[in-house]
């Protein structure tokens, strides 16, 4: 599961997300990919689950790239604890994504295989996504 090796601070404030993705909205490595249409916090588990779905469908052929990284710690209070008495303990890490962000990229497999693999990955994510293909893509290259 993806998470930082070490962090400067253990806990972070929630923050706000506004607007579309300012960067990471173009395919940079592969010919195919999925792009989010919504903003969300994607947990390390969700990203890992989607990655496994792609890898299994592509049967270890081709190459995939994960374009997001969960670097924001999320805290949670234990069950049945009264409010107050400080912020809870860090539970998991999330990646903040805004509309337009490319989540996964793939290369080295036919278009139909990549499309199905990305569909399976999208099912593991809590956002609406769109399958994208490199603009100059042709079946022969």
């Amino acid at each position: 599961m993806l998470q930082p090796k070490k962090t400067k601070f253990r806990k972070q404030q929630k923050g706000k997300m506004k607007g579309n993705s300012g960067r990471g909205h173009e395919l940079a490595f592969g010919s195919f990919g999925i792009k989010t249409m919504q903003q969300a916090w994607l947990t390390g588990r969700q990203i890992e689950s989607a990655r496994q779905a792609v890898t299994r469908y592509m049967k270890r052929e081709g190459q995939i790239w994960i374009r997001i990284f969960p670097d924001k710690p999320v805290t949670k209070k234990p069950a049945e604890v009264r409010m107050g008495k400080g912020k809870g303990a860090p539970e998991y890490f999330v990646a903040r994504i805004t509309p337009g962000r490319i989540l996964f990229e793939a290369e080295g497999v036919p278009l139909q295989v990549a499309k199905e693999a990305m569909r399976l990955a999208a099912q593991k994510l809590p956002v609406i996504t769109k399958f994208v293909v490199r603009r100059d893509f042709t079946e022969e290259n």
Binding site: K35, G100, N141
Partner: protein, 197 residues
Amino acid sequence: MKKVSLSGSLRENVGKKDAKKERRNGNVPCVLYGGNEQVHFSVDAFNFGKIIFTPETFLVELNIDGKVYQALLQDVQYHPVSDSALHADFLEVVEGKTIVSALPVKIVGNSPGVIAGGKLQQKIRKLKVKGLIENLPEEIKVDISMLKIGDSIKVKAVQPENIQLLDTPNSVVVMVKAGRGAAVVAGEDEAVTEAAE
């Protein structure tokens, strides 16, 4: 270099409001520079799509309200969510002046490595070149008929005539990787046995 013609109309006003209006009307706001003057114009988004949804690089003959310019597509900005073209830059081609452009790589020939079960991987799809417009070919051909499993062709091995390649000489253009269950090429097998003896 392949030629394509595109007609556009001059923009009466420039700025955010006018650009948004152009996009609503199905046009792409564009700018042409590199010549004597800067020209702000707009082209039909559908026709513009023909030069971006292709691996080829074109010399664009721009017809802007009757005046014809030769230009190269320099840069395009896209919407992060809808992926529609927001704005395009064209660089005017002046005769006798060297230009920098990216030309598509065309793979030719049959590789013995691929026949033996290796996987062909194209690492670079477009090579950055510098030269005079009349010397620029449609595509840069890379012959892979000598590529065995594990071999690669680097930028320094590609030598097109009359143009200069700007990519890093040691970058790999195309390679044949050993696929799962790839057979060893007959020549290599013999060489290994000889060495063992």
